[in-house]
């Protein structure tokens, strides 16, 4: 497509679809602003771009010039970023249209998109359930057919887990593959921008565009953008590891059946499938819930009501201003994580918690190295232990909520690329299967996902 009138028509249709999905509370941009911006963007879009006319929603913790960036938080209510994320600038340069801001758990802290100051996002096929999180708005918009792709972000699985719950594809690239300039920081040694797409190809196209070097982000590798692989005829020559730790006895039986079927299909495609062990997997969630809150407590220190964002007055001195603004502006989950992070970094506890977590993190990364050094190309696992859970089911029990990330956090801790794709349904609810790849070998992961996606009856009950 290179016709501007066609891009305009697509922009208007995308706005209609997003507005029609309003009941999900997945898009935070007011309909009027969304329509006006999409029309303006379509008129200015580059017709030669590889994503010309493609509407892409953007998680609300990624800075845009077109719309506010609130991170799902009251403390950034109405905030207009004075610059845009490199990923967003690359999308626009490729002709894509930024299709509004997607709801998320506040600052990316949550697994259900129930922790947004702007209300919870609903699961697209069951309003009593959660879409996952924290990029739940991005996943719900794609699953509802409002946009073909959306940007999300991951610190512990926040793209793959909602993609799994909503029945769409989610990719978390290798740490350093995509610039984080303009991604609001949560856990800096873990954060990555990722992509949700209705298919592996849609997600991969967007990932390819946003990847590559960026002089503004020194943690972004000096590499060319990801080149998309072709769809393979077979997986002959691939060695896929199945880690026993991801198939515990209490795994949801439907999830197990769907994974068993996917593994059988991988074999039929020609892949060699091997049992492997990642022995430190049980320690991934506790490790993550020390490292991430510690980094969050430092990153979120900047929100104090002094330089930007709303100010909640109520004290006679500057310290009272900080405390009142932060106490009023942050929601319960963010406050909890800031307190846990401050605690584990405080004098007397640092060695027992933070230092220990860093040591265990090294062991988790080493587990993967051992498996890949023994000739395994990719690891295949369930993305989540269960399908989408009910809204409110885990909000009073933070540890139960954290455990829904049990199969996703390892890739973040080890900095590896990972992808979730739909592999079946249980009672109508989607189930995701996950590939975890070697650093910067996203192309192998995409090849395997392309092949599996083509043969797996993802819409069928297992």
């Amino acid at each position: 497509m290179s016709d501007p009138s066609e891009a305009l028509a697509i922009a208007k249709a995308a706005a209609d679809r997003i507005v029609n999905a309003k009941r999900l509370n997945a898009c935070l941009t007011p309909p009027k602003d969304l329509r006006a911006s999409l029309v303006r963007q379509a008129q200015a879009a580059h017709p030669s771009g590889v994503l010309y006319g493609m509407p892409v929603a953007v998680k609300d913790n990624i800075c845009t010039l077109e719309f506010t960036t609130t991170c799902g938080s009251k403390i950034l209510g109405g905030y207009h970023s004075p610059y845009e994320a490199t990923a967003v600038a690359k999308l626009k340069a490729a002709g894509a249209l930024i299709a509004g801001k997607a709801n998320c758990d506040e600052f990316g802290m949550g697994s259900s998109t129930e922790h947004s100051a702007y209300g919870r996002t609903l699961h697209p096929s069951d309003r009593h359930r959660v879409p996952g999180g924290s990029s739940g708005g991005s996943a719900a918009l794609v699953a509802a057919g409002a946009v073909p792709a959306a940007l999300g972000s991951e610190t512990g699985g926040s793209v793959r887990q909602p993609a799994s719950f909503c029945g769409v594809v989610g990719i978390k690239p290798t740490y350093g593959r995509v610039s984080r300039w303009g991604l609001v920081a949560f856990g800096s040694s873990l954060d990555q921008i990722g992509v949700v797409g209705r298919s592996v190809h849609d997600a991969a196209r967007v990932l390819s565009v946003i990847s590559g070097r960026d002089p503004k982000d020194s943690t972004c590798e000096d590499r060319d953008p990801l080149r998309l692989p072709t769809v393979p005829e077979s997986l002959q020559g691939f060695v896929i590891g199945i880690p026993k730790e991801y198939f515990p006895p209490d795994l949801d039986p439907g999830v197990r059946r769907a994974c068993d079927r996917a593994i059988r299909l991988l074999k039929e495609l020609g892949a060699a499938v091997r049992d492997v062990s990642l022995p430190h997997t049980p320690y991934a969630v506790p490790t993550y819930y020390i490292v991430a809150p510690a980094e969050a407590s430092s990153n979120l220190a900047r929100y104090d009501g002094a330089r930007y964002g709303p100010r909640f007055d109520g004290g006679e001195d500057v310290r009272a201003l900080y405390r009142h603004t932060r106490g009023e502006g942050f929601g319960a989950e963010v406050r909890r994580r800031i307190l846990v992070g401050t605690y584990v970094l405080s004098s007397g506890y640092y060695d027992a918690y933070y230092r220990k977590a860093q040591q265990v993190r090294a062991l988790i990364a080493q587990d993967f190295r051992h498996v890949f050094d023994r000739g395994v190309d990719l690891v295949f696992t369930p993305t989540t232990p269960t399908p989408a859970f009910k809204a409110g089911e885990k909000t009073d029990d933070p540890v139960a909520m954290y455990l829904s990330d049990i199969f996703t956090v390892t890739a973040n801790l080890a900095g590896l690329p990972a992808l979730s794709l739909p592999i079946g349904r249980i009672k109508g609810l989607p189930i995701g299967g996950q590939f975890i790849g070697q650093a910067f070998l996203e192309d192998e992961m995409l090849e395997a996902a392309y092949a599996l996606e083509r043969v797996v009856p993802a819409g069928d009950e297992v």
Binding site: P82, I290, A301, I338, V344, Q359, V360
Partner: protein, 99 residues
């Protein structure tokens, strides 16, 4: 481990975070539960001498030490809650205790 109400208040003070009385008991209980859960790491055998894992490039690329303005679509004065003659306005400093 059990986190007391006083410990929550002390941590909240370090974090510059106002915590209201009503939520204190639940917060102390939830923090205790989270810290109990993560404490299982103490049982993992890990070498003190092991190199910590740091994701990302092996060597960070340093930018030239030059001051270059980042083009901004909005002036900082437009973002600040209170701004006057090039300064962010805040209440007086007040008293900072021993910490």
């Amino acid at each position: 481990m059990s986190v007391t109400r006083e410990q929550v208040l002390k941590i909240a003070e370090l974090a510059e975070l106002e915590v209201d009385e009503e939520t204190l008991p639940a917060l102390a209980e939830q923090m205790s539960r989270i810290l109990d859960y993560v404490a299982q790491l103490s049982g993992v055998v890990a070498s003190d001498g092991a190199r910590p894992f740091i994701p990302g490039p092996d060597a960070l690329r340093f930018r030239p030490d030059e001051v270059k303005p980042i083009p901004l679509a909005l002036d900082v004065s437009a973002l600040a809650p209170a701004f006057k003659e090039g300064f962010f306005l805040v209440p007086k400093l007040g008293q900072f205790g021993e910490e």
